[in-house]
């Protein structure tokens, strides 16, 4: 679409979606997006592959040399690896959780954007899962965390929150993948009907013989609803359990009862910011101006602002409870964050996480794609800094004086952090090229219901005011929409 046309759309878009879009056009637009993305898509893919390659190099180097180049040592055993793990787990939250909540409350504006948000959940979890394995050092023993039978009768310690993590994340990943997949089956059938070659074989296999009869739709609707209901408490439990990795440890700054809700709010916050970033990118890459509209983006921005305020409140509560409490080591850690060697990162977190969200109140920011893109990236920078500021300052100033030292991550750690974005980007970009990232059947439903509502309103007005034949009677309301 030309710049003039895009500008025109920006000016006139007041509805979540134009209810006069024909169903055939929805299929055509989405299927075309899987064939011909803009050049920006390939540039993003190249950057992702490059970052991922650096990560592979760093991991091989660490595997050969040991954990020294990562700058991990006895008191600093977690640092960036676990901070980034928590960041990616958080990122995974908004996709599935928001999709499930908005589905239950019948917020139909989620329909054009939930698919990529759910994919974001899946790939964030796959990225997060790498970090506990990497930080083990002895990566070849990673499977020890799983409960499996051995002839030596050894089992993991089920009292450890780290084992809870393994259970919770495995469950969340499995459930999220199934939620994403089940929601995609009707669209896979559409792809099957229009594809050729290897894509046809793939979609035929994945669509499980879907042919859209009433029995299938009925079972589909209830299945989707049931899994959505199961996923909401699951998502909350997953990040609560991740927070217990810290809260269950008797360490200053970590042993806090507000950590579970604080982590869940932070997860939702960073996930929402990531949805804005990906929304803007996909809208540009695939020319989805008619589906990923400004009014929908507006709603996501407002939601992000609300969640950012919840997160800010919980952050301030945590600071206040430490400040007014009598635990001197915790207070020392808090002061060290504000005035110590990590102060620039702490204040960076405060600025990006607490102050910058106020820019989302501006209509101009919400309507300016470039500015909004930068803001959404900075919000996530703030959230990443938040996780770093949870992990590292506490480890550098714990109860034992022998552990008091400032730690700066080594190049291997930075390479892994950067590479994780490459890994995520690569998986996500492959997904949106192979599978429809806008739900075709749900956008059709959205269009259908909105059109019906419009015509019902017109009918009522005409009957009330003039007694003339209704629009529907005149054949104007064609439910097929095409």
């Amino acid at each position: 679409m030309s710049d003039t046309a895009t500008k025109h759309l920006t000016e006139v878009q007041t509805k979540d979606i134009d209810e006069n879009i024909a169903w055939a056009k929805i299929n055509e637009d989405v299927l075309r997006s899987m064939e011909n993305p803009r050049r920006g898509y390939w540039i993003a893919m190249a950057i992702s592959v490059a970052l991922f390659s650096i990560m592979i190099y760093a991991e091989v180097y660490q595997y050969i040399v040991g954990m020294g180049p990562a700058a991990l040592n006895t008191s600093h055993m977690w640092d960036l690896y676990i901070s980034t793990f928590v960041f990616w787990i958080g990122m995974s939250h908004s996709g599935t959780l928001l999709s499930a909540i908005l589905h239950l409350v019948h917020a139909d504006w989620r329909k054009p954007i939930y698919r990529f948000a759910e994919a974001m959940t899946t790939f964030s979890l796959m990225t997060a899962g790498i970090f506990p394995v990497i930080h083990l050092g002895r990566v070849w023993n990673f499977y020890w965390v799983m409960p499996y039978m051995t002839d030596r009768g050894i089992w993991p310690n089920f009292r450890s929150p780290l084992i809870w993590d393994a259970f919770a994340i495995t469950t969340y990943l499995t459930s999220s993948v199934l939620f994403l997949y089940i929601g995609m089956i009707p669209d896979l059938a559409i792809c099957r009907d229009h594809a050729k070659g290897w894509r046809k074989k793939l979609y035929t296999w994945l669509s499980l013989g879907w042919h859209g009869d009433d029995r299938q739709w009925r079972n589909f609707r209830i299945t989707y609803l049931v899994i959505a209901c199961l996923l909401i408490p699951l998502a909350v439990s997953v990040h609560s359990i991740v927070s217990m990795d810290f809260a269950m440890a008797i360490m200053p700054g970590w042993h806090v009862t507000t950590f579970p809700p604080y982590f869940v709010a932070g997860a939702l916050y960073s996930g929402c910011a990531a949805i804005i970033t990906l929304f803007i990118l996909l809208r540009y890459f695939f020319k989805f101006e008619e589906y990923m509209t400004f009014p929908i983006l507006d709603k996501v921005c407002k939601l992000t602002f609300v969640i950012s305020m919840v997160w800010t409140y919980l952050n301030l509560v945590e600071f206040a409870s430490v400040w007014y409490g009598h635990d001197i080591p915790s207070k020392e850690v808090l002061l060290a964050k504000a005035y110590g060697p990590y102060a620039p990162f702490f204040w960076g977190m405060i600025f990006c996480g607490m102050i910058l969200p106020f820019s989302l109140l501006s209509n101009w920011v919400r309507r300016n794609m470039k500015v909004l893109f930068v803001v959404s990236v900075l919000l996530n920078v703030g959230m990443w800094l938040e996780r770093w500021m949870i992990v590292t300052p506490t480890l550098s100033l714990s109860y034992h004086p022998w552990g008091w030292n400032v730690m700066w991550p080594g190049w291997v750690e930075w390479a892994m952090v950067g590479g994780s974005f490459g890994w995520f980007g690569m998986l996500f970009l492959i997904f949106v090229k192979v599978f429809p990232c806008v739900s075709m059947y749900e956008v059709k439903e959205m269009v259908f219901h909105r059109k019906r509502t419009v015509y019902e309103d017109v009918d009522e007005m005409m009957v009330l005011h003039s007694g003339t034949p209704s629009a529907a009677d005149a054949g104007a309301a064609k439910p097929g929409g095409s």
Partner: protein, 176 residues
């Protein structure tokens, strides 16, 4: 007598629902609404009203899976702990109920989701060898009506009924 399946494609839901309404009024003797299936690109909220309530077993699958996950999860963990007493307990009981409940809860959700998926595949009759009576116009923007178990006499009546409601295309399949 040969048994047929007839599949008609319609431009919108209103026409398809009118066909079903006529079948409800016994315009084709011997064919009831139980023999009718509607295929559509979206799930129309009124399909259930038109065809009558057809219950599904998905909630039962989810409940069964969840219950199994909870019970299996707890006893699996308890069994593992009871058989590994050399693990340092730190003064805590061998079988710790609070921590096991956290994990059993995760197992509840996992097995409920897996069972729901199985229930969906069984209930929706997916992954069947028999090819469905289908046209790809259904995945685009048309509404299909399939009428099962139609004999030679009813076949003509069904075709006439379809024609009355401006059918776009009609397909037939003959079985024995």
């Amino acid at each position: 007598m040969a048994e047929h399946r007839i599949f008609g494609l319609f431009a919108d839901f209103d026409q398809a629902f009118e066909v079903v309404a006529d079948i409800r009024r016994y315009e084709v003797p011997g064919v009831t609404v139980d023999d009718v299936r509607i295929k559509s690109p979206i799930e129309h909220p009124e399909i259930e009203d038109v065809l009558g309530e057809r219950p599904t077993d998905i909630p039962k699958w989810a409940f069964g899976g969840g219950l199994f996950g909870l019970v299996f999860g707890f006893f699996f963990l308890a069994g593992a702990q009871a058989n590994f007493t050399v693990q340092p307990q730190g003064g805590k009981p061998v079988i710790t109920v609070p921590s096991n409940l956290v994990l059993a809860y995760e197992m509840l959700i996992l097995f409920a989701v897996l069972a729901t998926l199985v229930g969906f595949i069984v209930g929706a009759r997916l992954m069947r060898k028999r090819g469905p009576f289908y046209d790809k116009a259904v995945s685009l923007d048309q509404i299909g009506i399939v009428i099962e178990k139609v004999d030679d006499i009813q076949r003509e009546q069904v075709r006439a009924l379809f024609a009355k409601h401006r059918v776009i295309d009609v397909f037939e399949e003959t079985g024995t």
